[in-house]
Symmetry: C2
Subunit: 367 residues, 2 copies
């Protein structure tokens, strides 16, 4: 059944498991092929942002988000820098505010600063959400506040809708544009019990991704009013994102949006159930304790190398994969990210139960 090997790396051992608690499955070329199967060969490509395939999808998602217009982008990195730039130009200042662990701050090689000369004010501490109070205490004039729902780097936490609404009212009163980093917006709708449009109406502009919970190949939508999106298209060309053909991403985004949008509730319930199992294990706690989306972090109260060793053995013995990527949190703790997709429901209940009994025991033995 498995080949125990003491020196197997975590990712190698993970890749050999039969079951995986997170994700929608292996990112293989088959994912694209499946999306293309139902499309006629003679269907026309989009051409530099025009054509039926791109325009129809943009309209569909604009409507879903309750916004006037939407633009398809190859990446969220591009879409969000541009969103902030457009608001900065409109308000005549190059300052914005966002969370210290915002994607733009830690994952984009400082594109916002290097390409747009925009200075971000970091709101809140690294390990908690931005609050209304943080926004009210902002001393500097900013063009735009970016809020990420859920705040990925702290396990996917969410403010209550009422606080979000107050932040939105405050920003509108102060003439601050509010931008939504909705990389995982679809994934939080079951918790809020709101439509996407009800969330998005609090924001002036919205970015959503199609390869997180949706599980597409790549691609993003930026939505807002007509002036905003028209301006964003000019910047899209400047960034080199106005490709002659974006249809491989558009067609797959739409295919997996249709396939998985209705399953966000199932993923959310799965995340809550799975987090509970982790929290029953010795020296393991999830962040947040009770997930508010399909994602959460698993915090191990033990050093990375030790947990890695436990997990490799655990994968070999149970055939259940938790993660291929464990990250150091402090010298004596580590963590990983879990996002529930289609794969969780495929694991038989008894396999999960046995596995978590074993994981609890192994973690206890560590101490």
């Amino acid at each position: 059944m498995y080949t125990p090997s003491a020196d197997q790396s975590l990712s190698e051992a993970y890749n050999l498991t039969k079951y995986r608690v997170g994700g929608n499955g292996f990112r293989s070329i088959g994912v694209l092929k499946a999306a293309l199967e139902q499309v006629e060969d003679h269907m026309e490509s989009d051409i530099y942002g025009t054509g039926k395939v791109i325009e129809q999808f943009q309209e569909k998602i604009a409507k879903f988000l309750g916004k006037e217009t939407a633009v398809f982008f190859p990446s969220g990195t591009m879409a969000q820098q541009i969103a902030l730039r457009v608001w900065c130009d409109e308000l005549g200042t190059r300052k914005v505010a966002y969370h210290p662990l915002c994607h733009l701050e830690i994952h984009e090689q400082d594109g916002l600063k290097e390409l747009h000369y925009i200075e971000p004010i970091l709101l809140a501490d690294k390990d908690r959400l931005i609050t209304l109070n943080d926004v009210q205490n902002l001393k500097e004039d900013i063009a735009c506040l970016l809020i990420e729902l859920p705040q990925r780097e702290i396990g996917g936490q969410l403010p209550e809708y009422s606080e979000l609404a107050e932040i939105s009212r405050h920003c509108r009163a102060k003439g601050i544009k509010l931008h939504l980093d909705g990389a995982r917006l679809f994934e939080v709708l079951p918790y809020y019990q709101k439509t996407a449009a009800e969330i998005c109406e609090l924001f002036d502009s919205v970015y959503v991704s199609f390869y997180k919970g949706i599980g597409g190949i790549a691609g993003a939508i930026l939505a807002g009013n007509e002036t905003f999106t028209a301006e964003s298209k000019i910047w899209k060309r400047r960034h080199g994102g106005d490709l002659i053909s974006l249809y491989p991403y558009i067609i797959s985004s739409e295919y997996y949006f249709n396939l998985r949008m209705g399953k966000m509730g199932e993923y959310y319930e799965g995340a809550k159930g799975l987090a509970e199992k982790f929290n029953h294990c010795y020296s393991i706690e999830t962040r947040p304790i009770q997930p508010v989306s399909n994602m959460f972090h698993v915090m191990f109260d033990a050093p990375k190398e030790k947990v890695e060793h436990v997990l490799v053995e655990f994968y070999q013995e149970t055939d259940v994969g938790i993660t291929g990527n464990l990250r150091e949190y402090t010298d004596t703790t580590c963590y990983c990210e879990i996002s529930i997709g289609d794969q969780y429901a495929m694991i038989p209940d008894e396999v999960i139960e046995e596995a978590f009994t074993l994981l609890g025991r192994k973690m206890k033995e560590l101490n």
Copy 2:
């Protein structure tokens, strides 16, 4: 056989023709599907610029171009701005030089200036190539000179290889980096009777495209030494071009590169033959008179609306399409661009002969 309609637009009439003198065929989704057919479903996606599918293709093209390393980009717009930026940073100046009709100057919404604050010096007149003399007379310190082979906006003209070699020697002596806009590099190899590597060794960095003569979906390669490409990857992320998956473009680029790289000679011969036929028509001249690649411009010595009317009738009567996009050149002249691909060879000789006899007659009647 056809439905004559006086008020049919040029592009509508063109789209109804059975034969087309230019191009590789309709840009439909079938183009991608054909490229994917030979790929196994379980083949792994690239992940943020890593993985077999992207690394192998980058190595293959680096070798083909005779460069140390290569990076796959979603677009040439992104690749070339970044190439110039990397050279500017290395040389400590934000000045470059290129042709007045360079892609960066006229098709990119000034991304180079708006995102990189790079000031281009425009060399040569709009209607001719950059010469060694132009480069020698450059008064300002520049980081990089960009040369486009062939110079698309003037019909795809080329300097002789010996002049190119002298420009390269001059730049090296002066410490100026030389960048090749090789959007159509593959298409000029038959004229030069050189390998791509023999052309590229004159340049410090090279961009090539996979959807011009190659006929892929989209995508570009930027090649150069290791320091250069490593730096370009950082900027690729900043621009939002470091997508989680670029494989739809990579697989199709490789598929059509393998399919059409060997046909560039056939396209070049086709272009020469077709240009000759145009040049036999009254009031029509190609630019250049004898093509040096698969492309040329057709210059009509009559106002755009009149030529449009002639072409619509011509398409309806012959079923042969020349262009769907006629552009004004002066008030009394107009032109279109022709790039020979697979479609030209599919037109029976007698259809072409009859068609051009008719075109000559129609153009004569105009005057």
